[in-house]
Symmetry: C2
Subunit: 219 residues, 2 copies
């Protein structure tokens, strides 16, 4: 199995990446139900919302211990609580932003205002125009030449890469060497190809716009 295709659960089971990728969607649907006062939900109702099968839902939940009695339906509050425990933790993940151009600023705003469970510790850029400026969230942009020292001293969990491919390729060894394990990657350089033991979530905004363009023109 490819190194990034499975992760350990707290109790040592392997959970496959597709299951992990479905967790946020379960969370969103179940949060909606909870907010609307729904008390119980069956695996087939969940399956309908998720666009999957009831047996897939039960299989997914069994990866994490099952989340309660399936015969009489799941308790929405229990489900919500259990899935939230999986997705978030009491301690926020500390993040550093690399690249404070237009996209980087946007993403820093999103991360510091709308994303649960993350704390933006610091931001870095190489441009003299950016260094010393303050982001909307209050973080002051540092010279990327400080990145290695900063990471060694402050142990960020996650780096957010809002830089071009070549810059990402150049900064990757610094981050990996300093022990950064997680990457929210908006660049076109996928670190997981060259480095073992890192976790990368790629977001390719440009790719989705290109496919959309093709599809709209060929409707």
């Amino acid at each position: 199995m490819k190194k990034d295709m499975a992760e350990q659960t707290p109790n040592g089971n392997k959970v496959s990446l597709p299951v992990i990728k479905r967790l946020p969607k379960y969370y969103r649907y179940i949060l909606d139900m909870y907010s609307n006062g729904v008390v119980k939900v069956s695996s087939s109702e969940l399956a309908r919302m998720m666009g999957t099968t009831a047996s897939q839902v039960r299989q997914d939940f069994n990866c994490f211990g099952g989340f309660g009695q399936q015969g009489i339906g799941y308790h929405v509050d229990v489900l919500l609580d259990e899935i939230a425990k999986l997705l978030f933790s009491a301690n926020s993940l500390n993040a550093v932003l690399i690249g404070t151009g237009r996209l980087g600023r946007a993403i820093s705003g999103y991360l510091s205002s709308e994303a649960r469970g993350y704390h933006l510790m610091a931001a870095f850029d190489k441009s003299p125009d950016e260094i010393g400026k303050k982001l909307q969230c209050g973080v002051v942009v540092q010279n990327v030449s400080n990145l290695s020292d900063f990471c060694v001293q402050n142990h960020p969990d996650v780096a957010v890469l809002c830089i071009p491919r070549s810059a990402a390729q150049a900064v990757a060894p610094v981050l990996v060497e300093a022990g950064v394990k997680g990457y929210w990657n908006f660049s076109h350089y996928d670190l997981s190809v060259d480095y073992e033991g890192v976790t990368v979530e790629n977001v390719h905004l440009g790719d989705s716009l290109m496919s959309l363009g093709y599809r709209v023109r060929n409707l």
Copy 2:
């Protein structure tokens, strides 16, 4: 076949969504090769870069007529030209932005400065604080109550949704009725579930952060 799983090519063939989704990645790799002076490339070299098989590459290209002689390798310039023709067109796609909060502003900046083939015509919000303000790209934010009239008169190709799920659900019938066919969707409401004949690219930033968090904590 599900309605959004296949699209017509200009010559009437069906091209599956996974193939369409791979096109931007081909484009990026081939543009890189072209920029680096590479003249010819074989399907197996392409396959290695793409993380797939040579036969998959040939099959993908055959959906669009083959792109030249595979026995002696593909000409990089021809490939680049043909794939660019598929992904972009002489006429930009006209886009409207719905929601000019932090994310919407970020995305509008990306769309108007970094995305090839799109033109941001107009932006809409419901907040009195936003209406009348100018985005960095020069577009002035309009009241979302003008959206329907605007779309009927100006026929945008694509709507970019940077609003919460409930707002997206409320605005969807207005856009669909006005003939908007393409959606770059950052909301959690997937229009393609309720409307036929629309093309939706979902970007779930929050979901990717949640999966990343789970994976980093369970490494």
